[in-house]
């Protein structure tokens, strides 16, 4: 009796085992296969302004909370011939999805959300539509001259726009006014990193609130964005004019040591997993006395965390050897070359980046919620000036004060404040970001992290890097 029962259960186990083993073999065999998944390309190739527009976007609050619902409730109603589908990704996944789609010409996205890093590179490779000549010249109501000059310049290639900004950002310091005044600290409008570090040490209360919240998550758009601005203002750089890696130079080492030690001493715990969205939550819940991050966070604070927003003070990006140190980024929309329904795609792009979109958001969510940093007219609008008086001017001045062509103290051969505008940087930025995250988490020392990083950065020859 017992033996027959046992062999029965064993046979069932064997069957289960084989099924498992097969599934695993399949998974192992197919790993690394270069098949591209994604939605099939939209139907039809007509040049009329109808069709399906598939948009790849980053999952930041202004997109998921405003752009997507407004597209459904307003844009699709106003344009009955156009269906808009969104594919939302986190920043890192978005880059992967877009890069794969555009470079293989899979054309599953008619509109892609990219930034000043990708736009000139993609344009150079012939992967993007020239928006200036193909659409804007025939659409005077779009008013491209109204786009903020610094932002528009960073999205141009040979003088023509290849993407248009949905929102633009620099970086600045947020601080909780009541906590600072309780500690007897006054934050200057243009602080130095030394002043910020001293304030952080005073404000830090382990377990209750961090003295300062900083990005630690590995990624060139994550921890490296913040750290690069520190490196730049400390007089460091990624490469010198002859494309020799400089990550172990005294200036770079001093900057990285400063940043890592500041997080370790007075930063939030678990920093190596934190980037913009995590820190927005932390700061919004009053767990950070100060926070150095994107200027766009002010818009999210105003709408999502009104009580903290009311206590928030703003200062320009802290500096050391330079007079300004903010980064420059914009989440912008471009149209890949050769996709179908391009007319409809432009219709969507021009709608989402228009002045009318700004007033639409204002009517639904209030003026302080309008995507910032893309159009001059927004900053001349009295209603916006009034609703966003706390952060409108500092945002505008921070963006205007950036110069991606001269980001560092010493001359450098590359363009970009918080990135190096070369294709290899996608990988290099991540590898170095991982090393820095390791140093922040304490799994390795700063000097080891920089030594490894220098190795990664030196793996390319100058001729490869200069393209």
């Amino acid at each position: 009796m017992s033996s027959s029962r046992s062999s029965f259960s064993k046979r069932k186990l064997a069957a289960a085992g084989c099924a498992l083993a097969l599934a695993t073999m399949a998974a192992a065999c197919s790993s690394g296969g270069g098949s591209s998944t994604g939605n099939a390309a939209a139907t039809g190739g007509s040049s009329s302004d109808t069709g399906t527009v598939t948009v790849a976007v980053v999952s930041n609050p202004l997109i998921t909370g405003q752009m997507i619902p407004l597209t459904e409730s307003v844009f699709e109603k106003d344009n009955p011939g156009i269906t808009v589908k969104f594919a939302t990704y986190t920043e890192g996944d978005l880059r992967a999805a877009i890069e794969k789609d555009v470079s293989t010409h899979s054309n599953s996205f008619n509109v892609i959300m990219i930034g000043p890093y990708e736009t000139p590179l993609f344009a150079k490779d012939g992967w993007l539509d020239n928006l200036s000549t193909q659409y804007i010249s025939g659409d005077p109501s779009y008013d491209a001259s109204d786009l903020l000059p610094a932002v528009a310049k960073s999205l141009s290639y040979k003088g023509d726009l290849y993407a248009v900004p949905f929102y633009g950002e620099s970086s600045m310091l947020y601080y909780n006014k009541s906590l600072l005044s309780a500690a007897g600290i006054t934050m200057p409008l243009h602080p130095t990193w030394t002043q910020v570090a001293a304030a952080a040490a005073k404000l830090n209360q382990p377990g209750k609130q961090a003295g300062i919240c900083l990005r630690g998550l590995a990624g060139w758009g994550d921890n490296m964005a913040s750290l690069d601005t520190v490196i730049n203002t400390y007089g460091g750089e990624w490469y010198n004019t002859s494309w020799q890696a400089q990550l172990t130079s005294p200036a770079d080492e001093a900057a990285v040591n400063f940043y890592v030690n500041l997080i370790k001493a007075d930063g939030e715990s678990g920093a190596s997993n934190d980037s913009f969205n995590q820190l927005l939550t932390l700061y919004g819940q009053g767990k950070c006395a100060m926070w150095y991050d994107s200027t766009v966070a002010a818009t999210s604070l105003a709408t999502t965390y009104p009580s903290i927003f009311a206590q928030t003070g703003y200062a320009f990006a802290p500096v050391d050897k330079t007079t300004s140190s903010g980064w420059l980024w914009s989440w912008s929309l471009g149209i890949p070359q050769g996709v179908s329904d391009q007319g409809a795609a432009w219709k969507f792009v021009s709608w989402a980046t228009s002045k009318q979109y700004d007033s639409l958001v204002a009517s639904k969510y209030g003026w302080s919620a309008v995507p910032p940093g893309s159009r001059t007219s927004l900053y001349q609008n009295p209603s916006y000036q009034k609703a966003a008086s706390a952060f409108a001017n500092i945002t505008l001045q921070s963006i205007d004060g950036t110069d991606p062509t001269h980001p560092t103290v010493n001359p450098v051969p590359y363009v970009g404040v918080q990135y190096v505008d070369i294709p290899q940087f996608e990988n290099l930025g991540l590898e170095v970001g991982q090393q820095i995250a390791g140093a922040i988490a304490g799994t390795e020392s700063v000097s080891t992290a920089l030594q490894n990083s220098q190795g990664y950065a030196s793996a390319y020859t100058p001729s490869e890097l200069s393209g």
Partner: protein, 312 residues
């Protein structure tokens, strides 16, 4: 796959009548063909494509498409310290997770084998972690459980003076293993429990009559009886856990630094962040070759488990 057929055929031969004609054989195979073709299309064709790309120099973010690269991708894989580190990490993570899960699984199975009120409910509860999707489990662990600021674990430990530990930063490697163990202990429990229930009661009773204490009975009778079940659990657990991806991707993203980067995540990163199709294909091929070597040893063990059964 040939190896798998070898393993599964012996029990089947006993049932099959001898002397079937060639035609009859094909008639028997015919219904299986669609499945076989499907498996070939979704596993072997991608593998051949991967093999092809592993000899190409192909980056998604550079124009120009793929060009012949010879064995340079393989050279790069073997000289990359990150690959070796990821390989070693995969091995140690899998081993630690399987060993802990099995130890806990045996303990729980012995408990569940006893009769007590509410046993059915307890069994269901204990199996639950295995039924939760790995991605969902990883997110719950990363957020509500282990978050340094809002996490449940820190909240529970606060009275004991443990304050705001950033588990996924300072103990990333251990945290991922803990979640793997949490998820796979029920599986081990189930397998060992099946073994316990197949144990002949008369032998245990005889031992008891002879004056053996509970520990002696467990060590001398139950454990030897459970050996094939334990081997099977370790084998299946290893096959599955060496591929672990969800927890690494969603809890630590391979970090901090590269401290939780396992082989599958290393390859994923090479594709999705470096856009290095050639290099990741080569890493994939090397992984498959290593897996086949390990799997063929493991499957031999698998076969022995069932020969053991036949002998009984």
């Amino acid at each position: 796959m040939a190896v798998l057929e070898d393993v599964t055929s012996p029990p089947a031969t006993g049932l099959r009548p001898r002397g079937v004609s060639q035609r009859e054989k094909w008639q028997r195979r015919l219904p299986l063909l669609p499945a076989l073709i499907y498996v070939i299309v979704v596993t072997q064709v991608p593998f051949i494509v991967t093999l092809y790309y592993s000899f190409q120099n192909y980056f998604w973010n550079q124009p120009g498409g793929a060009t012949w690269a010879g064995v340079s991708n393989y050279k790069e894989v073997f000289t990359d310290p990150n690959f070796r580190a990821a390989l070693w990490r995969s091995v140690t993570m899998t081993a630690l997770a399987v060993i802990f899960a099995m130890a806990l699984g045996i303990a729980l199975a012995v408990l569940l084998d006893k009769k007590f009120i509410g046993r059915g409910v307890v069994r269901t509860l204990i199996i639950t972690p295995f039924l939760v999707m790995p991605a969902a489990a990883a997110l719950i662990w990363a957020g509500p459980m282990l978050d340094p600021n809002f996490g449940l674990l820190n909240y529970l430990l606060e009275p004991f003076g443990v304050n705001h530990v950033a588990w996924l930063t300072t103990h990333a490697y251990g945290s991922v293993i803990v979640v793997m163990v949490w998820q796979w202990t029920p599986f081990m429990t189930l397998i060992v429990l099946a073994g316990l229930q197949g144990q002949a009661q008369d032998a245990l009773e005889a031992a008891r009559v002879d004056g053996a204490n509970a520990w002696a009975i467990f060590r001398e009778l139950t454990l030897p009886h459970l050996r094939p079940y334990i081997e099977l659990g370790i084998l299946l657990g290893s096959i599955y856990l060496v591929n672990v991806f969800d927890q690494v991707r969603l809890m630590t993203n391979g970090g901090p630094g590269t401290s939780t980067t396992t082989l599958p995540f290393y390859i994923y990163q090479k594709v999705n962040y470096a856009f290095d199709i050639g290099g990741s294909a080569a890493a994939g091929v090397v992984t498959v070759v290593l897996t086949i070597i390990v799997a063929s040893f493991a499957l031999r063990l698998f076969a022995r488990v069932f020969q053991f059964e036949e002998a009984q």
